[in-house]
Amino acid sequence: MPQTQHKIDGIPLYLLIYCLLMALLVSTVIAATFDMGRWNVVAALTIAVLKALLVILFFMHIRHSSRLTWIFAAAAFLWLGLLLGLTMTDYTSRTSPAPNSNAQISLTAAIR
């Protein structure tokens, strides 16, 4: 097992990461001012993932950590993906009857 004391990054590296993070922040704010349709979401989330990776790898030192820590960190996000992904399989494939037939409108009227 690698001992954490042995790997101490220098201050310049931390500053570099910090500058990168700030640059990403600026770029994401700027990107949001353009109307790119659905690509806005993609851009914002991609940048967020990049920032997260920088924080996890360098600030949280996962880069120096054991495989086990990698697995734990990855598992958390994998499970989040499962939750979102499988829930959306339902929502994106729903075919509930559209509330527009005449009779259904009368039904709605009857309820309210």
């Binding site: 097992m1 201050i11 734990f72």
Partner: protein, 234 residues
């Protein structure tokens, strides 16, 4: 055995590793804790796009120097993450004075975040979007926008208003839970600061700083995702 090591452990290394692994496990829990909210957020954004689009147009109304407070807060938190990372480095090198200063800086940044957030909440309260019973009265401009949106889409205005309100439920809930985590973080770091002043931490016994540091970074990480989800995505 030295008093540094609790009786159930064989040596310091085992203890440090156990502590770190414990924190990572806890963070995995936290990811799923916020994950439940993010799942709800995703589903409703999918279902109620028109209303949520409208809401996200006004969420960054509160600005300094033309930049939304959400972005400022991101900057504040990223900076605090840097001070924490440097603090962990300092404790490993035995630079206790530096550690104290960095922890203090972190605390100030954390409190700054909370203050900015509070100012933003106040602003939103006055806009009437706080989705509490009796408090939710969107102001005239917002109502006019919603009215226009209702005509554009085929949804009735009352329905649209409720879906619009739902955005704010999620906005306040997600940022609120995050703020609670920040508060806990501020508490933990105050503790760390006091202990540092007492000279409790050495290069050997640096684990508490490192472990609490992980927590702080995680809270930052959550914000890194909340910021685009709530403020940027339209």
């Amino acid at each position: 055995m030295s008093e540094l090591v609790a009786e159930q452990f064989d040596d310091l290394e085992q203890q440090t590793e156990a502590g770190t692994l414990g924190m990572w496990t806890f963070l995995a829990t936290e990811v799923l804790f916020f994950g439940g909210m993010i799942c709800g957020y995703t589903v409703y954004r999918h279902l109620y796009f028109p209303a949520w689009h409208n809401a996200s147009l006004i969420v960054d109304n509160f600005r300094f120097l033309g930049v939304s407070s959400g972005a400022w807060n991101t900057a504040v938190l990223l900076t605090s993450s840097l001070t924490v990372a440097l603090g962990v480095r300092a404790v490993k090198l035995g630079q206790n004075r530096l550690l104290g200063r960095l922890l203090a800086a972190t605390l100030i940044l954390g409190i700054a975040f909370l203050l900015i957030k509070a100012a933003e909440y106040t602003h939103e309260y006055h806009e009437g979007v706080m989705p509490c019973y009796g408090v939710f009265h969107p102001d005239a401009e917002i109502s006019a926008n919603l009215h226009r949106a209702a005509i554009g889409s085929q949804i009735s205005e009352t329905k649209l208003l409720r879906q619009f309100q739902l955005f704010w439920v999620f906005y306040f809930f997600m940022t609120g839970v995050h703020a609670v985590h920040m508060l806990v973080g501020v508490g933990l770091f105050t503790f760390l600061l006091i202990e540092t002043r007492r000279g409790r931490y050495t290069p050997q016994k640096h684990a508490p700083v490192e472990i609490m540091g992980l927590y702080w970074h995680f809270v930052d990480l959550v914000w890194i995702f909340l910021f685009p989800l709530l403020y940027l995505v339209r």
